[in-house]
Symmetry: C2
Subunit: 250 residues, 2 copies
């Protein structure tokens, strides 16, 4: 049977999901997507591949998945067909046919994550699931200086979860790490070749420590050099975390 590979860009509000990956008895993004695709394929099970998992409560603006289909639906009709079967908190923003050599996970070139912090005294009831409320005053220039130490190719073991079970190299390249203040928000942007488990949340936690003066920007190189998992234990809230974009090799 002739199969076609489709690449989909999807956004989801992580608040109502027990993460991306299928788990029995849990509402997951993968579960919802595969159920919708199964309906389109007349009860035939369709397995999707994503660029990577996201944890419970983590959002996506531009997650990417692929799947193979025997159906010959025109490319421009797929988006509407899938969205019609999805709940309000998942949305396919783009569908395109790709070569069989494309793989949502293995062809990833760069990933970009954003982390949003609401930096004011009062919380915002409308953003409890969408930003980390951090009322302490922070020094943005100090955080920006620390970001420059994080950029580049390093062993990020110190910035990975002690719970991580990933084997192999912990060396990653961070092409971009920055932080900017927009009214009461602090927006962190990270773009890299790949990210270890909980790496963004642990980096933001350490950077906020720099912002409040608990650490100095100059401490970052020594922290990286320590290569000690769990040294920066605190993994902050998933609410502020967004998988923003996934870029692929041409």
């Amino acid at each position: 049977m002739e199969m076609e590979r489709l690449k989909c860009t999807i956004s989801y509000d992580g608040s109502g999901f027990a993460g991306f990956q299928v788990q029995p008895g849990q509402r997951t993004v993968q579960g919802i997507l595969e159920k919708a695709l199964e309906k389109i394929h007349k009860a035939e099970a369709i397995r999707i591949q994503a660029s990577g998992r996201t944890d419970t409560g983590v959002h996506a603006v531009g997650q990417v998945i692929h799947f193979d289909t025997p159906l010959t639906i025109p490319e421009q009709n797929w988006k509407r067909a899938i969205n019609a079967l999805l709940p309000d908190d998942v949305w396919i923003s783009h569908v395109e046919k790709v070569q069989d050599s494309f793989h949502a996970r293995y062809s990833v070139k760069q990933k970009e994550y954003h982390y949003i912090v609401l930096n004011r005294e009062d919380p915002d009831v409308f953003r409890q699931n969408y930003a980390l409320h951090f009322p302490k005053r922070v020094n943005i220039e100090a955080i920006q200086a620390a970001c420059r130490y994080l950029e580049g190719t390093h062993d990020f073991t110190t910035f990975s979860s002690a719970k991580s079970t990933v084997k192999g190299s912990k060396v990653r390249t961070l092409y971009h790490a920055s932080c900017r203040k927009k009214e009461n928000d602090i927006e962190f942007i990270f773009r890299g070749s790949g990210f270890l488990y909980n790496m963004v949340r642990i980096m933001v936690s350490a950077l906020l420590d720099v912002g409040t003066g608990k650490r100095n920007p100059e401490d970052i190189p020594a922290l990286l050099a320590a290569e000690e998992r769990g040294k920066l234990g605190k993994t902050i809230s998933p609410s502020g975390l967004y998988l923003w974009e996934v870029r692929y090799h041409e």
Copy 2:
């Protein structure tokens, strides 16, 4: 016993509430607030009075309530004391002592509501509960012209719900009705002496009809003159509706 009257300004995310008013077996804003106050008052039941109810799913940025207390807590400590007992989707932004003559409902001078519409083709998964998704192209100038017909003192029967059980005059004064486009959002603002049941949602529904050309701005005076309940049946989603501010007589 000496009692003090406290006025509180509160915000809440209406998504998780079956409206404001206490209902047995339902999670309501009033229920949550009275439970918190009961804890502070050592299990003594405290009844609150609000400026008015809000329906299921309707949000508040500046709802106002009052209650009487025998406790002699300094004014500046009340805010923290109550907020410490509230869930993440309700927040007291201001507490002040007021005269016994103040009443959250009967002393209202003006109320302001905002209604937010996301006016683009794709929905936004992060705002499903916070804005009405309306993908059709609209003519903002026509809506603004219709708003000017709504302003003033009129019998708003046509713009009230057929389910309304309120007796008495349906005459209200709308001091301000406007609409502006901000990127992909259309923001409606209404400020008036008072609002009938579902009045804002019915007005927005009619104004969107004007925006798409289904009605003309010049139809508004005849609609008002008809004084016919249910004539504009469609009550649109509560998701975009915010009780923004309540103003009181000095």
